[in-house]
Symmetry: C2
Subunit: 350 residues, 2 copies
């Protein structure tokens, strides 16, 4: 016996009302120029009258193209990640895509689970900002999925996929150089999650600067990319350095809070810098000196790269690295260098 036919309006209702076949209705929708003026009008009228909207599910099943791209990011609540997402969306929505964005809560098991879920939803492409430093099960799923993917901001180095990121190393190196140049002699670096690619790259920039200038009075502390982490790490400091370099703005802001509570003034007693230039950093008191990342552009570019993949083009540039600027505000103060006046002089002469 026939199952009860769903009473909602479908292509058949339209066809019936217009007195044509469903094929014609479909054509009116997808390639109107291929059907005669008269029928086209009749069908359009019927569509209007019934308020018919094609069922995307059926369409997807038939064509094999869902026009959906998924995002996997560590935290759906973090504005920085969402600004990237927005960048990618802004590019891709003009190509007719819809989006599913999923947060892993920094949990790599959840990450693979989400990947699987997205795959069975038949998304056409996925943009991923990794939640950890390595994720072997993730790699396995990716390999035999055949879906188009792009890494954004963070990547798993053992998975060969296009990557759009930011020159973390150069960014931190630049701002650390700036601190050295302005007379700071002792440093503390407050790292975020140590296994993420961005944390590693940023730390590398710091180390490069230290080495380059022959600075030995520095210390590296590991924590997370949060305000609280910056706060706690700083509180534990035995000796206060000339400058604190935060793994990101949140960490830097946490450090400032702690320093204030410990009775130090920023920037008079200590300089502090961050990384990100997040929304609030320019309004903090004192306003944070930091490294500006082109976050939105990064997402936009990732969207573009994914689209190239989706439209079958060969992506020549597998890796796109965007550059950073340093933005000088109020948390760095030029230090006197009384005890090194001599060295300074020599350098000038040589």
């Amino acid at each position: 016996m026939a199952r009860q036919r769903n009473n909602s309006i479908n292509i058949r209702s339209v066809a019936q009302l217009a007195g044509v076949s469903i094929a014609t209705v479909s054509r009116v929708i997808n390639s109107p120029e291929s059907v005669s003026e008269e029928l086209r009008e009749r069908v359009k009228e019927a569509i209007e009258k019934l308020g018919y909207r094609p069922n995307q599910i059926a369409r997807s099943l038939r064509t094999g193209s869902t026009k959906i791209v998924g995002f996997i990011i560590p935290d759906i609540t973090n504005p920085a990640f969402l600004l990237m997402v927005k960048g990618a969306e802004d590019y891709l929505k003009r190509k007719g895509y819809m989006f599913m964005v999923c947060g892993t809560d920094h949990n790599i098991e959840e990450e693979t689970k989400l990947l699987k879920t997205l795959l069975s939803q038949s998304v056409e492409g996925i943009i991923v900002t990794c939640s950890g430093g390595r994720n072997s099960s993730f790699a396995k799923v990716v390999q035999n999925s055949g879906v188009k993917m792009v890494f954004m901001d963070r990547r798993y180095e053992d998975i060969d996929l296009p990557y759009v990121g930011v020159d973390n190393t150069a960014g931190v190196e630049k701002i650390t150089d700036f601190l050295v140049k302005t007379g700071h002699k002792s440093f503390v670096y407050l790292s975020g999650e140590r296994n993420t690619s961005s944390a590693k790259e940023r730390l590398r920039g710091f180390m490069k600067s230290m080495k380059k200038h022959g600075v030995e009075d520095y210390q590296v502390l590991y924590g997370r990319f949060t305000f609280e982490s910056g706060y706690e790490l700083t509180k534990k400091l035995k000796k206060i350095p000339d400058a604190v370099v935060g793994g990101n703005d949140l960490v830097a802001l946490g450090a400032i809070e702690a320093l204030n509570e410990m009775g130090y003034h920023v920037p008079d007693d200590v300089s502090v810098v961050g990384f990100d230039d997040m929304f609030y950093s320019k309004y903090s008191k004192p306003a944070l000196t930091t490294v500006r990342q082109p976050i939105y552009e990064m997402g936009y570019t990732a969207g573009k790269v994914l689209w190239q993949l989706l439209s079958g083009k060969n992506v020549k540039k597998r890796v796109t690295i965007l550059q950073t600027d340093i933005v000088v505000r109020e948390t760095v103060k030029e230090r006197e260098t009384p005890d090194r006046g001599f060295t300074e002089k020599v350098e000038v002469v040589s």
Copy 2:
């Protein structure tokens, strides 16, 4: 001639490998207890071997249930909205749902467009935070859609749908009462987008407090819910009041920035309060006194209500209003009331 069969693994490949019918494979997946031990094992093995994952699209088409709920929010980049979304997701994902979240950029035309798009994606439910104060085309689409919907945080009053929100009026009234009680005599209220339901409700709370205490020295200024708006409105002030009430935290923070630049000290010269208790407010300098909204809970509750709708239950409570707390930090200072000492005394006596 037969179209080329899609070479990706489907239920048929599994059936073939296991030597059973596709019906059996489907049963192994959906109700394993209904198939014999032996076949079940064979099928599971085949699934594992091929890495088969059921095609959700096909499943949705057949069952008419996509297990997707959509969100429409004004700004995908605003952490407050996303915290609500997270709340709802946390509730609904345990019920097996996936999510599509869409931002309108505060544009009501985009809002109806997104609604239509979500509908043709056959989402089962939609949670909406309105972008404007009214949206007639939105209403029209909602009426004959049959999809389950819930308003979250903001609503269109002419559309009868379940609503989960916060007692904006009581919140602002409470904090304004607090200002009056601590001796403030003159007020400025900085409103956000004046047509949104939350802006209206908050303003009402302010007015109630003014009226209740017979205060006449107040002024209401309209702008937007942004830092910049608070800043600009404040800059235009001819006369500085005892207290500034911001339509939200951003506005309040903008006002503080402007006041500082104009040479006034917060809270010594002026008190400032906000609404939201957003992430950064406790770290601002001075830390903002504000109204805490249970944002996450609001989303969680909206998710719960939507689920009741989805599972066919009758929702008895069409409107759920969550209460706010006021959180006292550093931006309010008790004022002397030299010229009213007398009244004060009378009150105590009476």
